[in-house]
C-alpha cells in the first residue's frame, strides 16, 4: 500500500491505496463519492470523467496513486457551479438523459467544452463530446442542451498554458507523500516468462525461397489467409520433413512442445509478443496427413491463462512439384480466431500482420531445416513487427532504384 494525500472536492484526504486502484474506484469505494460512474473501465465510454487540477480526465485509467498531491473535482462538487447549473437545467429541458448512467461524465465533459469555448457549433459539440457514450438518447438532446448553454456563455476561463505544467497533472511541483513501495512481487511464472522474453528470436536467412501472400478473407470468427512458398528442394524432402512434428514445431517462432508427438497429437505452448503484450498460449495440436495427395492439416488451439484469451488455428498445406521436380511449391492456408481480451484489444489488422509474419518466418526456418542449417531451438518468441519497417525501407529503395534509377534520401 502507498500513502497518498490529495484534495477531493475541496477536502484534503490522506489514504493508503494499492497502486493498482484506479481513481474511480478510489473515489467510489474509499470516499463513497458514487456520482462518478464506471462504465467500460478501459477509457472508452467517458462515464468516469472527473476533473484533475482543472482538466478533465478518465478516472478509470488514471491510478489513484498518480494523483498524490492533485486536486480532484467530481460531479458532487458542481452543485453550486453557475455553469453546471445552466447545463443541468438545459439537460432537463432538452431531455438530454434517460437512464442517467452517462450523465455525470457528460456534464463534466460538457462543462469543460463550454468553458474552453470549444462548443462553437453543432459539429464542434459532436466532435468535442465524442468521447462520452450515451446508449439512450441518440445524442440529439445532449447536443441541443450544450448548444443552448454555449450560445450565451462568455468564455472567460480560457485555458492558459503555463510553462511549468505541461505534463499530466499534478506534475513535478505537486506535493509528494509517496513513502515506500512494497517489496518485489515477482512470481515464478513472471520470472519464467521474462527469461523466455530475453531469448532473442532468430530467423534463418532465406536462400532462393519465395513467399507470396494471397488474399485475406473473413469467415465468421475465423480470419483466413493463404501463402504460397516456393523452395528449392524436391517434394519428397519437404514431405518427409513435414512428417517430423517436432522439427516442424521448431520452425514456428515461439513454439515449444511438452514432449514427443503421439499419434499425431502434441501438447505445447506458443509465446507471442505484441508490443507490451506477452501472450503465452498453452494448448495442443493434431496433425493429419494424406500421403496420396501430398496434403496435411494441423489443428491447434491454445489458451493464454493470464489474459484468459483463446486462440484457435488450422493450417492446411499441399505440396506440388515445380521446376521439373527440383523445387516444391507449398500452398498453405491458415485460418485462425482469437477470443477474449486479446481479441478485444488487438485491432484485427495488427494480428493479421503478425500471423502473416509468423507464417513468413516459419517458411524461412523450414527452408533452413531443409538445407540442414540450424534453427535456434526452444521458445523463441517473434516480436510482432520487429522486421516490418526495415523490410519496407529496403523494398522502397529498390522501388525507387528500379523506377527512377536512383535512391531516395
Amino acid at each position: 500500500m502507498t500513502r497518498i494525500t490529495l484534495t477531493v472536492n475541496g477536502t484534503k484526504v490522506t489514504r493508503e491505496v494499492a497502486p493498482r486502484t484506479n481513481l474511480a474506484d478510489f473515489l467510489r469505494e474509499d470516499l463513497v463519492l458514487t456520482g462518478t460512474h464506471v462504465g467500460c473501465e478501459h477509457g472508452i465510454c467517458g462515464a468516469c470523467t472527473v476533473v484533475i487540477d482543472g482538466e478533465i480526465a478518465r478516472s478509470c485509467i488514471t491510478y489513484a496513486v498518480t494523483c498524490d498531491g492533485a486536486e480532484i473535482r467530481t460531479i458532487e462538487d458542481f452543485d453550486d457551479d453557475p455553469l453546471m447549473k445552466k447545463l443541468r437545467h438545459a439537460f432537463s429541458a432538452e431531455h438530454a438523459l434517460q437512464c442517467g448512467y452517462c450523465t455525470p461524465g457528460m456534464l463534466v465533459a460538457a462543462r469543460d467544452l463550454v468553458r474552453r469555448g470549444a462548443a462553437r457549433d453543432e459539429d464542434a459539440i459532436r466532435v468535442g463530446m465524442s468521447g462520452n457514450l450515451c446508449r439512450c438518447t441518440g445524442y440529439v438532446g445532449i447536443v441541443k442542451a450544450i448548444a443552448a448553454v454555449a450560445c450565451d456563455h462568455e468564455v472567460s476561463e480560457k485555458t492558459a498554458v503555463s510553462a511549468d505544467a505541461l505534463g499530466p497533472a499534478p506534475g513535478p511541483a505537486a506535493q509528494d507523500s509517496l513513502r515506500e513501495t512494497r517489496g518485489n512481487v515477482t512470481s515464478p511464472a513472471q520470472k519464467e516468462q521474462r527469461a523466455a522474453r530475453a531469448a532473442a528470436p532468430t530467423l534463418a536467412s532465406p536462400s532462393g525461397m519465395n513467399v507470396q501472400t494471397g488474399e485475406i478473407t473473413q469467415d465468421g470468427s475465423f480470419t483466413k489467409l493463404t501463402q504460397t512458398i516456393t523452395v528449392n528442394h524436391p517434394r519428397d524432402a519437404v514431405w518427409n520433413l513435414m512428417a517430423d512434428i517436432e522439427k516442424v514445431a521448431t520452425c514456428m517462432p515461439g513454439v515449444s512442445l511438452d514432449g514427443p508427438a503421439r499419434d499425431g497429437h502434441v501438447d505445447g505452448r506458443m509465446l507471442v509478443k505484441l508490443g507490451p503484450i506477452n501472450a503465452d498460449l498453452k494448448g495442443e495440436a493434431d496433425v493429419t496427413r494424406d500421403a496420396d495427395n501430398w496434403r496435411g492439416v494441423i489443428d491447434g488451439k491454445g489458451r493464454d491463462a493470464r489474459s484468459a484469451s483463446l486462440a484457435r488455428g488450422r493450417v492446411e498445406y499441399e505440396l506440388t512439384e515445380t521446376d521439373d521436380g527440383k523445387g516444391t511449391l507449398i500452398a498453405v492456408s491458415i485460418a485462425y480466431s482469437l477470443a477474449g481480451p486479446l481479441a478485444q484489444f488487438s485491432r484485427g489488422a495488427i494480428v493479421r500482420n503478425l500471423v502473416n509474419r509468423l507464417a513468413g518466418a516459419f517458411a524461412q526456418n523450414l527452408e533452413a531445416k531443409l538445407e540442414g542449417r540450424d534453427v535456434e531451438q526452444g521458445a523463441q518468441a517473434l516480436n510482432a513487427g520487429s522486421l516490418v519497417l526495415s523490410v519496407l525501407w529496403d523494398r522502397l529503395r529498390s522501388f525507387f532504384t528500379r523506377l527512377f534509377g536512383r535512391k531516395p534520401g
Partner: protein, 278 residues
C-alpha cells in the same frame, strides 16, 4: 477489469528513473497511461512495477534550442493543443494534437509515451515522421539521439533498449516558406485512424517528406516524393498522381488491399492539398 498487483515508483530525476528501470526488468514506464491503462485493466500487460516519470521536471518542459525545439517526453497532447510549442511548424503540431482521441485523454496522454508505444495508427508517429523528428534517449551510457525513422521498428516495436527512456522529441526549425498538411480518416471520431497522410515541405531548402500511415501497417515515408507528381511542380497538389502513389505504397511492401492503398493515397493527396492551401 482490474489490473494485477504492481509496485509503483515515482522517480524525481532521469538518473533515478533509469536506475529503477535497470533494477526492475519487469517494470513498465508510465508516461500518462492512456494506452497502457486500458491494457493494464484488461490484464494484457502485467508488469511488476510502474515507474511514473511524469514528475521529472525535464520531461514536462518545452525548450527552444538554437535550431528548433525540444519537447519533453511527458508533455501532454492537450498542452500542445493549447499552444505550448511555439516557434515551429506553423501550428501544425497544435492541430495534430487537437485531433488525438478525446480531450479527457489528451490531458494525460503524452507525446513521448505515444511514440514509445509505437502504435502504427497513432497520430504523433505519422505527424512527426513528416517533420523528420529526432528523439533524445537516456540510457545507462548517457544520452543518444535517434531519428524517428530508425526508432520505430514496426507495429508496437521500437529501438528503445530495456533500460532506456525517451527524454525529448527534437524538431528542427524550417524556413518561412515551409508548409505542412495532415489528414486522417477514422471510422469514429477519436478512434485510431484507418489512414493518415502527413506532409511537410520547404521547397527552398529542398525539404519534402510525405508519410502514409494509419491502420496496422508500418508507415511508409517518401523522403523525396516529387516522382509522385505528374507535373514537375510539387507545390501544386493537382499534379499529385493518386494511382501512382497507391502503387508506390504497394511496391514499398505495404500488404494492404486496393481499398486500403487508395485510401492512403487519397489522404496523402488531401494532406498535400492542405499544405498547398488548395
Amino acid at each position: 477489469m482490474k489490473p494485477v498487483a504492481f509496485d509503483y515508483a515515482r522517480p524525481r530525476s532521469i538518473a533515478e528513473a533509469l536506475e529503477t528501470l535497470d533494477a526492475q526488468p519487469g517494470a513498465k514506464i508510465l508516461a500518462g497511461g492512456q494506452t497502457l491503462g486500458p491494457m493494464l485493466n484488461l490484464r494484457l500487460v502485467q508488469p511488476d512495477m510502474l515507474i511514473d516519470i511524469t514528475r521529472i521536471p525535464e520531461l514536462t518542459a518545452v525548450q527552444e534550442t538554437g535550431d528548433g525545439v525540444a519537447i519533453g517526453a511527458c508533455v501532454t497532447h492537450a498542452s500542445i493543443e493549447d499552444g505550448a510549442v511555439t516557434g515551429t511548424a506553423n501550428g501544425y503540431l497544435d492541430r495534430v494534437a487537437s485531433g488525438i482521441a478525446y480531450r479527457a485523454v489528451r490531458t494525460r496522454g503524452t507525446i513521448g509515451g505515444s511514440l514509445s508505444h509505437a502504435d502504427p495508427a497513432a497520430d504523433w508517429l505519422a505527424a512527426l515522421l513528416a517533420l523528420a523528428a529526432e528523439l533524445e534517449i537516456a540510457g545507462g551510457s548517457g544520452m543518444r539521439r535517434a531519428a524517428l525513422d530508425d526508432f520505430v521498428k514496426g507495429a508496437m516495436e521500437t529501438a528503445l533498449g530495456t533500460a532506456e527512456l525517451v527524454v525529448a522529441i527534437r524538431i528542427a526549425k524550417r524556413g518561412p516558406k515551409a508548409r505542412y498538411g495532415y489528414h486522417k480518416i477514422c471510422r469514429k471520431t477519436g478512434e485510431f485512424a484507418e489512414a493518415i497522410g502527413a506532409v511537410a515541405t520547404d521547397h527552398e531548402a529542398g525539404y519534402f517528406r510525405l508519410v502514409a500511415a494509419g491502420g496496422s501497417h508500418a508507415p511508409v515515408v517518401f523522403t523525396d516524393p516529387r516522382e509522385l507528381f505528374k507535373e514537375a511542380d510539387p507545390t501544386d497538389a493537382r499534379g499529385f498522381d493518386v494511382d501512382m502513389a497507391a502503387n508506390a505504397l504497394a511496391d514499398a511492401g505495404m500488404a494492404a488491399d486496393d481499398y486500403d492503398l487508395s485510401l492512403r493515397a487519397i489522404v496523402m493527396q488531401r494532406a498535400i492539398q492542405e499544405a498547398a492551401g488548395q
